[in-house]
């Protein structure tokens, strides 16, 4: 890899749901300002790994996490870390868009507001800016105060992207962010990701290999909770070293 320090370093990460050992001894560096794709068959722990980055895992009752996740060199599982501070650094796009039960404007302004921004003019600017970044502005500028739930699913997902960007994160986490979208809307999101990687580190969980090939600079392949192989996208897709990676990529296991 290049000389730029990694944005996220995972060290001996283990995750248990009760007795279920969901992630086993994961250690990997996520490169800065690149798109990293996490691929693997369903149930292999892709989403768990993604959610361990912003500590959304611990919401469930019986989750146990051991090991370290360093973001910008800080261990986010250090008990002294403030959880909102960690989460503010990352925008999350879930499988299905979940607009908050409020207007389009308030969806974007929600993040800045909870972090204390009250200046109406600044909020207006933030809303406009990030709706433009998510290329949604033209479609919604006349109905900013209408309900977000009335948008199409594709528009909602771009709204969620804008909402996540509005708190000023450094990292974008996407949990199969296009799986509920039609091809056109998926393309829209993919395009935004490619534009955004100049400024953000992007990590995408995907089960669509072609999407991973289109987007990713770096690839992690998970299988049954283990990190089987990781490396630059080209190397993984063209010349995988591990037998299991080969089988997955060439379509034997799915």
């Amino acid at each position: 890899m290049t000389g730029i320090p990694p944005h996220i370093s995972v060290r001996d990460l283990n995750v248990f749901y009760g007795k279920d050992h969901a992630l086993k001894d994961i250690s990997v560096d996520i490169p800065n300002k690149k798109i990293t794709a996490i691929i693997g068959p369903s149930g292999c722990g892709k989403t768990t790994l993604l959610k361990s980055f912003n500590r959304l895992l611990e919401r469930a009752d019986n989750v146990k996490v051991t090991g370290q996740v360093l973001v910008d060199g800080e261990d986010i599982y250090d008990p002294k870390m403030e959880i909102t501070h960690i989460r503010k650094k990352m925008g999350l796009l879930s499988q299905k868009p979940y607009p908050l039960p409020m207007s389009i404007y308030d969806n974007i302004a929600y993040g800045p507001r909870i972090h204390g921004e009250q200046n109406k003019k600044k909020l207006d600017k933030i809303v406009e800016h990030f709706l433009k970044t998510a290329s949604l502005w033209e479609e919604v500028k006349d109905k900013l105060h209408g309900p977000a739930a009335r948008l199409s699913v594709g528009q909602q997902q771009r709204l969620c992207l804008a909402r996540g960007l509005a708190v000023g994160p450094e990292i974008i986490l996407g949990d199969e962010p296009t799986s509920a979208l039609d091809p056109k809307s998926s393309q829209h999101i993919e395009k935004r990701f490619i534009e955004l990687k100049e400024r953000y580190t992007i990590i995408v969980v995907t089960h669509i290999l072609r999407q991973a090939k289109r987007l990713a600079d770096y690839v992690l392949f998970l299988y049954m909770g283990r990190l089987i192989e990781h490396g630059p996208a080209q190397a993984i897709f063209e010349n995988p070293q591990q037998e299991m990676t080969k089988e997955y990529i060439f379509g034997v296991i799915s």
Binding site: R59, L92, K96, L100, P101, Y110, G164
Partner: protein, 307 residues
């Protein structure tokens, strides 16, 4: 051979059709019962509301059956006071408890407390009433009223309201918990992922999303409180006067009916007047129920903001 096959086949189809008809009949009948009750009450109370204006009946405070004066205001006011006090006491507690149990409480507590709430909901009203007489009434008489500088026999609106509040709590908590649980986890995640604290998420996202359901839960509790008879009757004093404060006795509509129907029917039109009281009660409770169903099914606002 063939003919028996045909008869079996025909019988199967007949039973199939008959089953559908019978089920339909049962449903229609249960609907009819409501209409029959409402109709009976309406027509049997005609002697009272047929000759006087509804508004003047409902707004008059003169209740002198022997003189043929039937003013329902004392009873309507009594009902509203008792119900109002009960809701003011019960609703905040219920909402906060439901939020705690769904959002914060560890699993064992949440699951342990559920059956308790169900038991509380299943206690017969008369038991609540006795408890009210034994505990709440003396408490109001000896502590609460003196503390506010008034004297009260204890049999009062506040006593009725307190007993009633305890009675409606389980129902409201139960529905509110269901409503909160139905808020998608991912919606909470979306807010948390933006760096919101748990409380910010609950306040701005979860309760907002759950609002129609919580309103419905409150309205259902309200209609329960409105119609509750025996427990209230036992502690509320039953004086047919428009109450001036919560330490005054009151005489809610259900108590009026339960205390008098079947007894003083020698007085002309008395039974018609009581039936009219029952009609008012039925209409109000029906109205509350319909409103809460409408809110729950979300025809009004939920499709707007809640998707």
């Amino acid at each position: 051979m063939l003919s028996s096959f045909v008869t079996i086949y025909a019988r199967r189809l007949f039973v199939d059709r008959a089953a559908k008809r019978v089920l339909e009949l049962v449903v229609v009948c249960s609907g009819l019962i409501l209409l029959i009750i409402a109709g009976t009450l309406y027509f049997r109370s005609l002697p009272v509301h047929g000759q006087a204006h509804w508004g003047s009946l409902l707004m008059s405070r003169e209740w002198h059956p022997s003189r043929g004066q039937f003013g329902f205001l004392p009873f309507i006011a009594g009902t509203l006071w008792v119900t109002g006090v009960a809701m003011v006491l019960a609703v905040p507690v219920c909402l906060l408890m439901a939020i705690y149990l769904v959002e914060y409480a560890p699993r064992f507590l949440r699951e342990g407390i559920n059956p308790l709430i169900d038991i509380l909901a299943g206690i017969p009203s008369v038991v609540y009433g006795m408890w009210g007489v034994l505990v709440i009434v003396p408490f109001v008489k000896n502590y609460l009223a003196p503390w506010f500088g008034v004297s009260s026999s204890g049999y009062s609106i506040i006593a009725g309201g307190m007993v009633l509040a305890v009675m409606v709590v389980p129902g409201i908590i139960h529905i509110t918990m269901e409503v909160l649980k139905s808020v998608p986890q991912e919606l909470r995640d979306a807010s948390l992922a933006l760096g919101a604290t748990k409380w910010q998420t609950i306040k701005n996202v979860v309760t907002r999303r759950a609002m129609p359901g919580m309103v419905a839960a409150i309205v259902l509790g309200l209609s329960r409180a409105f119609g509750e008879t025996i427990a209230v009757l036992m502690v509320v004093g039953n004086v047919a006067r428009v109450p001036g404060s919560i330490f005054d006795p009151a005489y809610p509509l259900p108590a009026l009916i339960a205390n008098n129907y079947g007894e003083m029917l020698s007085i002309p039109m008395y039974d018609a007047a009581l039936l009219f009281a029952a009609l008012i009660l039925l209409l109000v409770v029906l109205y509350f129920n319909v409103v809460s169903r409408l809110i729950l099914s979300g025809t009004k606002w939920s499709s707007y903001y809640y998707g």
